[in-house]
Structure formats: C-alpha cells, structure tokens
C-alpha cells in the first residue's frame, strides 16, 4: 500500500459563531477572553488526512500550528482527531496577529524541508484573515503543484486527482506528488474527537520551536493601519403580506 506522509496545518482562530468587536485602538479585533477554536477549514484538512490514513494511503500525519502557547490546544485537538504528532511553531502571545500568510508559508516551506512530506494539506482560508493565500504561496515557494478549494481528493500512483469548486461549477485536475492542497468545507465532514482519543492524544508528542529556529523572518509585510466597523445596515420594516412586498418593490423600481 502507499505510504505517504502528510503535513497538515491548523490555526487557532476566534470561533466562527462569536460576534467580533473592533478594538478601541482601531488596530485589530478584541481577542482577550473570547472563545477560540480550530479554523473550520483546517478541521476539514485534518479529517482528510485521517481518512487517507484509515484507507492506508497515508502512514503518518504531522500537524503544525503557528501561534502563541494556546495553539497547543489546537494541535491537541488535531492529535485527538487522529494526527500522529505535532509541531508548535511558537510566537510570543499578542504577536500572533502579525503572522501573515507569506511568513506562514515560509515556515511551512522550512518544515517541508525537515519533514519531507508527500502532501501538505491546509485549510482554504482562515476565517479571521479571509486571505485564501497560504496554500498557493507555499506551493509557489516549493514549486510544487497546487490543488486549491478541493472538495474531493483521490490518490493513485503518485498522483492526486482533485475536484475543485470553482466559480462556474467544478473542475477536475490531476497533480503529481508531492503537492499542496487546500481543503474546502465540502471536502468531508470532520469528526468530533472522542474522549478516549482525547486522552490518547495527551501522550502524543508535540515538538516546539520558534520561527527563528527555522531561520524565518516573520516580520509582517503588510502594515495594518486601521481596523474599523463596516457601515451599519439598519433593519428595515416587516411587511404584512406578499401584496405589500410587491408594491414596495415596484415603488423602488425593482419590478
């Protein structure tokens, strides 16, 4: 059977259901005391790696997270889902919001040199930054082929056949290994870590290092000048029936 090794990335982000608040200094968003979880797309990435391992296509899953001490919780979740060991690239608390996609991609490129995986799977985008770049950046740095917005991944003979969700529908491509993939939400349905697996995960190894240990300069390239609330959209009126709705739309010139 194939014996691929997979490197998967995960990011600790503000939970998707939380209503965020802009900080009074207008340079970011309030994160203290706010619920954080694993980026939803990264759950799909880890789930895909675990399924490939269950199918005996993959023999080892290494999960990586870049962030403050609390990122270890995110790594533990991935380990509980089925990853084998973790790497925590730690940055001082409070500086994690300065970690931008290009720096992350460079960190991953160094880890790829070290770990020599056959596949790297990342989430399509982080729901805080919404950039959708890291996979593409990493693939470019490594000069590996990329399969972004993946909703189906099949392995055979040193290649991956990937179905991508594109603007007009779907497209199928084939990439030679080694390759970088970004997981879209419909790639799979991520499992919940069971209690026995959470307990087992405590024994799995997490290696710690800093960006400096990898020789990567994570100074942000993009300077955030300001973060503000979007224009507020006030709620309008309720209309009692379809007839009223249609006449309002006619008034506004829509019909």
């Amino acid at each position: 059977m194939a014996s691929l090794r997979v490197l998967v990335g995960c990011k600790r982000v503000i939970d998707y259901a939380v209503k965020i608040r802009v900080r009074p200094d207008a340079l970011g968003v309030v994160t203290d005391g706010v619920k954080h979880s694993m980026n939803p797309f990264d759950e799909n990435a880890i789930e895909e790696a675990v399924r490939m391992k269950q199918k005996k296509v993959v023999k080892e899953i290494v999960v990586v997270s870049c962030g403050p001490t609390q990122s270890q919780e995110t790594i533990r979740t991935a380990l509980a889902m089925g990853a084998d060991r973790g790497i925590h690239v730690e940055v001082p608390k409070g500086t994690e919001e300065n970690l931008q996609p290009l720096a992350i991609a460079k960190i991953f490129a160094k880890l790829v040199e070290k770990e020599k995986p056959d596949v790297v799977i990342l989430g399509k985008q982080a729901i805080d930054d919404d950039s959708n770049q890291t996979t593409q950046l990493l693939a470019g740095l490594l000069e590996w082929p990329q399969g972004t917005m993946a909703s189906v991944v099949e392995h055979s003979d040193g290649k991956l056949k990937i179905t991508r969700e594109i603007d007009g529908g779907l497209e199928d491509i084939s990439v030679n290994l080694p390759a970088v993939i970004s997981a879209d939400l419909r790639l799979n349905e991520p499992r919940y870590a069971t209690l026995p697996n959470i307990m087992k995960a405590k024994k799995k190894k997490i290696e710690k290092m800093s960006p400096e240990d990898l020789g990567v300069d994570v100074t942000p390239r993009l300077k955030v000048l300001k973060v503000v609330d979007p224009p507020v959209r006030a709620a309008g009126d309720k209309v009692p029936d379809v007839a009223t709705l249609m006449s309002k739309l006619k008034e506004r010139g829509h019909i």
Binding site: I20, L170, D172, I173, V239, R252
Partner: protein
C-alpha cells in the same frame, strides 16, 4: 525654488510611476465579467494598464479585451502549456511578463481563478499578496474585509510590486466597448508544466444571469427542504430576470450545486435586489450579500437574524409566499 517644491508635495505621488498588469480571466471564448470591475480598480491606481490574456486559445478573448476602455495594451501569452488555466503554468507566464516589463502592480479578479493564481506569483516575487480589496486609498494602501466582513482593515504594502485581487462588487464595471488597445504577442515558449494536468470541467449551464453580476438575486436556504423545491425559485427568477443563489446549508444538503453558494467562502454578491428565501441569516451568509442595495427576507421565524439586515421582511411560509409572488408577476 521653494514654491516649486511645495507644488510637487501638493501633487499626490499616486500614479506617478505606477503601471498595472491586469490578469484577464476568461474561458477561451469570452472575458469574464468580473474583469471589467478589476479594470476600474486598476484605473483608480493610475498609470498605464496592460491586460494579460494567457491561455491555449486567446484570440477571441484578446480582441474583446482590447475593446475595454482603460486598457492601453493587451498582451497575449498563448501556448498549450496554459490549457485549463492551471496555476502552475499561468504563474510562469505572469512572471515572464512581469520580468520583461516591471509593473508596479499586478491585479487579478477576487474570484476562485484570480485567488488561485496571484498568491503563487507572490511567492516567486517574495511579495505579500493582498486579497479581495474593496477600496483603494493610494497606490500602496488598500481596504479589505476580515472576519466575514465584520471588520474593515486598511493595509499598506511596502513591497516593490503590489499583488492585489479585487472584489468585483466593490468597483463599477468598466464599459465593454469604446477602447481600442493595441495587441502584442508575448513569447512564453519557455513555459512548461509537467506537474499538473487539467482533466475536465463540469460547469453549471444556465441561461439565467451570472450570479456574481446579476442585478437581482433570489437565494434559497435550508427552508426550501430539498432540491425540487428550488424549482419555485427558478420560476420566480425567470419572471424577474434574476439569478439564483443559495446558502451554504442548502449546498451542503445537496439541494443545489456549489457554485450557487453566496457567503464568506462562496460568492460575494451586491445586486440591486437580494431576496433571501428560507435563509436564517448566519454571519457567514451575510458576509456574501449585505452590500446588496435592497434586501428582502422571507422566513417563517420572526427572530431569524436575516431580518436584522433586510429592508423588507416577510414573516410567512415560503411555500405560500413564493407562489403568491410568482402569481402576482403573471
């Protein structure tokens, strides 16, 4: 001397040395509508705009691109290696053109296609790309949304080349006619790709307006209960000349294909009229449509969050209301 210096300072440095390479999105037959919005964005940066048409069959697209006002030159990079718009090959074509002409800005649509390609270019140029801009403050400072559109970020790049993907709904579309740019072939003989292969595309075929640029969008959510019930929305859409969209829940449940998804991780739309049918209004869905001019919501739950952003809210059973709407338009 002093007066001259003051006048120089008073003139914005914008555009003095700016020049933009704009990656035209196309399918070998026509220019993608979102490219017209990106042309407008390029115009705001200032300086000449050169449109790059890369692909294995470019002639018709290049001709169309040359007619867009605001484009000074169309650069055609044609070759079989560029079949299927694979990022590995298109990136190399962009890099070759950039190496030859040293643009200060490289722009692409904030679509799946543009987002797939531009960051890969960024890696090779060692530049931090800026995703999905909604505004341009100056040639190095841009606005974009974060946290599903719940905050707006102003970022400044100090990179020598600015790589930017543009959210189409935030810029007016340039006219499709009126320009007459020169067309120039660019030799990408050196571009080859043995790492990936395009197999096939399964595109949704429709006579309806394209979702991302339609003036009216009617979207269905989990409340529709199944794919057959979407037929009702298609009928209403046909009466109104509208496109049909969907919430993530409806796509996940298999009611409609994925390219209908409106939201943070799907399409961003900003039509004149957005009608949300059976959609609760999760933050992630609102991210994709809250810039619509008029929002109508139809939902039987009066507490649905969608009513917090709708201009007109109808608390009703959609299976009663939508047929009534269709009848009223007969």
């Amino acid at each position: 001397m002093l007066r001259y210096a003051v006048r120089r300072l008073a003139t914005p440095a914008l555009a003095r040395n700016a020049s933009t390479l704009l990656l035209v999105e196309h399918d070998g037959v026509a220019v993608n509508a979102a490219t017209l919005n990106t042309v407008t964005a390029a115009g705001k940066i200032g300086g000449p705009v050169h449109a790059l048409v890369a692909g294995d069959s470019c002639a018709a697209v290049a001709e169309e691109a040359a007619k867009i006002p605001g484009i000074e030159k169309v650069i055609v990079a044609e070759g079989s290696a560029l079949k299927g718009n694979l990022a590995e090959a298109v990136t190399d074509a962009v890099l070759a053109v950039q190496a030859a002409n040293s643009y200060s800005h490289i722009l692409a649509n904030g679509t799946v296609s543009g987002k797939n390609i531009l960051p890969r270019v960024g890696a090779k140029l060692d530049v931090a790309p800026i995703s999905d801009i909604i505004g341009i403050e100056s040639e190095d400072t841009f606005h974009r949304t974060i946290y599903a559109g719940n905050a707006i970020q102003t970022v400044q790049s100090s990179d020598a080349v600015k790589l930017v993907t543009v959210r189409g709904t935030s810029f007016d579309a340039a006219p499709a006619e009126g320009g007459s740019a020169a067309t120039e072939a660019f030799d990408i003989g050196g571009v080859a790709n043995d790492k990936s292969e395009f197999l096939e595309s399964k595109l949704s075929k429709s006579d309806r307006p394209e979702l991302a640029s339609a003036g009216i969008v009617i979207s269905g959510g989990r409340g529709l209960k199944n794919g057959e019930n979407f037929e009702m929305l298609y009928n209403l859409a046909d009466k109104m000349g509208a496109a049909v969209g969907a919430s993530r829940a409806a796509v996940d449940a298999g009611y409609v294909p994925s390219d209908l998804q409106v939201g943070q991780t799907g399409k961003m739309v900003a039509p004149d009229l957005y009608i949300a049918v059976g959609i609760s209004g999760a933050i992630q869905h609102l991210a994709g449509m809250k810039d619509s001019k008029t929002i109508v919501a139809i939902n039987k739950d009066p507490e649905a969050p969608i009513f917090q952003v709708s201009d007109y809210g109808l608390v009703d059973d959609l299976f009663k209301a939508v047929p009534e709407m269709i009848t009223s338009l007969d």
